[in-house]
């Protein structure tokens, strides 16, 4: 969807200390072959702050940078790919109470690693349909420090990092203009991540870790499966990524030759190429691999971490266009095109 008169006025992140891959191998958390093949050099791990507290920190930075007052905001959209506390409790209101502290709608956007892009899309709609509103606060965070998640070995495609990110989407100019945002899904691929797990009673495994990989394997081995099903699914997903990027670039009125950099998800090196970079015909150098490989897959934050890093280090500057690319189970791929409109912040 093409976007007019909407800006990113503030950006904030929280990245905890990182655990070097060598350390993880030495501790026996991951085997050395998998570690080497991943290309990941370190993974961010937060052992003390819950996800919502990391979100509060990122949000404070974004709001301050935006120059907006709490009264300017119409909503808070909060996300996490994993649980952030007990059932029947509102993480968004925890964050709202400790940030804007206003009587706003505060809701969760549950879209896996696409959550922030989808939150941006929803923010555009909220601002367009709420007279007098100027800003939406988007927050996102995950903390996988629980015995029920094996961040090093759960997935063959990624190592899960703890992180938080925040954006202020605004009708007032900021550090970037949002030109287009959108996503496309291939719902026939929904079954992949269900992997034969129970829908009734809803599958819960309090006694053992999450393990996405076995579910994907279960899907690949389901009755009637053919051996190449997973390979075909990955190819179809790559097509989805390429189509979504073409559509979003066209909506933005921006050609590939105007894209300075690409901020994408923090997958391991080979899955990153197979699923995102190669379908886009984009090299790792154009993306954020060199940065994200030092953090791991920061679930809901990858795209914001990448965008902030590119901007703060001067790798993109005023006039440059950045393509944001995300994905989630379902499967769905999403993109946004932003144009940087301010120089990097001065370092104090």
């Amino acid at each position: 969807m093409k976007v007019d008169n909407i800006h990113l006025a503030g950006i904030g992140t929280y990245v905890p200390r990182t655990v070097p891959m060598k350390e993880a191998v030495r501790q026996g958390w991951v085997d050395s072959t998998a570690a080497e093949e991943s290309g990941i050099t370190a993974v961010a791990v937060e052992s003390e702050l819950p996800a919502v507290d990391m979100a509060v920190i990122a949000a404070a930075q974004a709001v301050e940078r935006s120059g907006h007052r709490p009264e300017d905001f119409v909503a808070l959209l909060h996300s996490g790919a994993y649980h952030q506390g007990p059932e029947g409790w509102s993480a968004p209101h925890y964050v709202l109470n400790r940030t804007l502290s206003r009587p706003l709608v505060a809701t969760e956007v549950r879209h896996g690693c696409l959550s922030v892009l989808t939150s941006m899309r929803l923010a555009v709609g909220l601002l367009a349909t709420t007279p007098g509103s100027e800003a939406v606060l988007i927050t996102a965070a995950d903390n996988f420090s629980t015995p029920l998640v094996d961040r090093w070995q759960d997935s063959e495609h990624a190592m899960y990092a703890d992180s938080a990110a925040a954006l202020v989407v605004s009708t007032r100019p900021g550090f970037a203009r949002l030109l287009a945002v959108g996503s496309r899904s291939e719902p026939s691929l929904e079954e992949m991540h269900r992997g034969g797990e129970s829908l009734l009673p809803p599958a819960r495994h309090p006694d053992r870790p999450m393990y996405v990989a076995p579910r994907l394997r279960a899907w690949a081995e389901r009755p009637g499966a053919t051996p190449a099903d997973m390979i075909t699914a990955v190819s179809r997903f790559g097509d989805l990524v390429a189509e979504t990027a073409e559509q979003t670039l066209a909506e933005a009125g921006v050609g590939w030759d105007s894209i300075t950099r690409v901020a994408h998800i923090g997958f391991n090196e080979d899955p990153l190429h197979a699923m995102i970079l190669d379908p886009l015909e984009v090299s790792a150098k154009l993306g954020t691999w060199e940065y994200l490989r030092t953090i791991g897959h920061a679930s809901v934050s990858d795209l914001v971490l990448g965008l902030e890093h590119l901007w703060e280090t001067g790798q993109v500057t005023e006039g440059d266009h950045v393509l944001l690319v995300g994905a989630t189970e379902g499967m769905e791929a999403g993109c946004a095109v932003v144009q940087i409109t301010a120089p990097p912040p001065q370092r104090g």
Binding site: E156, I231, S235, D270, H273, A274, D278
Partner: protein, 86 residues
Amino acid sequence: MMTNAPALTPEEIKQAVGAVLSIAPETIDDDANLAQLGLQSIQLMRLSGRWRRSGLQVDFATLAVDPTVRSWARHLGPERDGPATD
């Protein structure tokens, strides 16, 4: 792309695939569907990545279209076509 670029022979491809599948390379038929021989998606990603890092112009999608040694040799050999286009 000039001829100094690296290339793989069918035998080298069979060696790489055989190592991944833990089967003898000589048992891999040129036209055997490698997925049917047990090649997993993540293994195909790793092969593609390894070959890309060695300087070959290859991607997952090209190898996935027709996962046979014969097809891969066309894309990876000295007289190769380059990445598949649709």
